[in-house]
């Protein structure tokens, strides 16, 4: 029997559809959970609990709608699309908590003052960048944040981002342009020229 890693996503999806194979779907969730949860953590500005709730909702919806997945995009891109829609729907329901579970990052920044070695300094700089980037992303509109996360953090093309966000490519480019203008202002302290 082939190891789970050697089976493609398409084969696992076929098993789910033909034989209602839940073991195959378990493998799909195991493969993609990290990317989907990381994407949602970015979209929710670091709120890990909310991101995980939305990720669970994403996979349940994926299971229910697996028959409608027509392979016109990668499975991961389809999951990003569902995840983004879940996040947008949730945002409409209640005000989002902008600052999330970043205790570890904050602790790293605070403790970095005591540490003199370069490794600590690098770690603290990374944590500091994550915090400032999350705060900067929180200043964007939902559409702008989604466009930045899909294009930069998920490394999608504009065409793939347009599929995920269900809008024309030109709209994605506009959102990215506007988001960059806002990020420039929000992250001005990181500009070496300032």
């Amino acid at each position: 029997m082939a190891s789970p890693e050697s089976v493609t996503d398409a084969q696992l999806i076929a098993r789910c559809l033909v034989a209602d194979d839940r073991h195959a779907f378990t493998e799909l969730v195991r493969r993609h959970q990290s990317a989907v949860r990381a994407c949602l953590r970015k979209l929710t500005a670091g709120n890990h609990a909310l991101a995980d709730d939305l990720a669970q909702e994403t996979f349940v919806l994926a299971w229910r709608n697996l028959r409608s997945f027509r392979q016109e995009a990668r499975f991961s891109t389809w999951l990003y699309r569902i995840a983004t829609n879940c996040w947008l729907a949730q945002g409409r329901k209640r005000r989002e908590e902008l600052l999330g579970d970043r205790d570890a990052d904050v602790a790293a920044v605070e403790s970095s003052d005591d540490a003199g070695d370069p490794a600590h300094a690098d770690h603290a700089r990374s944590a500091s960048l994550r915090i400032d980037m999350e705060r900067a992303l929180a200043t964007l509109s939902e559409a702008e944040r989604a466009a930045i996360v899909q294009c930069y953090h998920n490394d999608l093309t504009h065409e793939e981002a347009a599929y995920v966000l269900d809008c024309p490519v030109g709209t994605v480019k506009t959102h990215v342009f506007r988001a960059r203008q806002k990020l420039k202002a929000a992250l001005a302290a990181w500009n070496p020229a300032s």
Partner: protein, 123 residues
């Protein structure tokens, strides 16, 4: 779909620091594997339960209907023959016209395409 990085060729050269920051943050994002920690198990337990109907139900129901039909056909052979003969006679007595046939074909086409579109409708 060919994969290419986001098109940054038109960005202002003075924004290089922002591109660099976004790239660093994206690298942190992609490097950080989110440990499963029971997530997959919680998703699987949240899935709707499998259909309760056993696998043998559909063929069993089909077999029952077939045996009921055969039973009626054997018990009342003359009745089945009479019904078939009358149905054919009624159909043959219909005055078929070209326009009537065309209208029937159009109606059949509309019903078929509507049914197909409904079956293939998006989510």
């Amino acid at each position: 779909m060919p994969h290419t990085a986001p098109d940054l060729r038109n960005s202002d050269p003075s924004d290089a620091w922002l591109d660099s920051l976004l790239a660093q943050d994206a690298a942190l994002h992609s490097d950080a594997y989110v440990d499963d920690a029971g997530f997959t198990a919680s998703v699987m337990s949240a899935l709707p339960p499998a259909a309760l109907a056993p696998r043998w139900r559909k063929p069993a129901v089909t077999a029952l209907w077939a045996s009921a039909g055969l039973g009626i056909a054997f018990a009342l052979p003359s009745a089945v023959l009479d019904v078939s003969r009358e149905a054919f006679r009624l159909l043959a007595a219909q005055p078929f016209t070209l326009s009537g046939l065309a209208a029937a074909l159009v109606a059949l086409g509309v019903i078929t395409w509507t049914g197909t579109a409904w079956a293939l409708r998006g989510d």
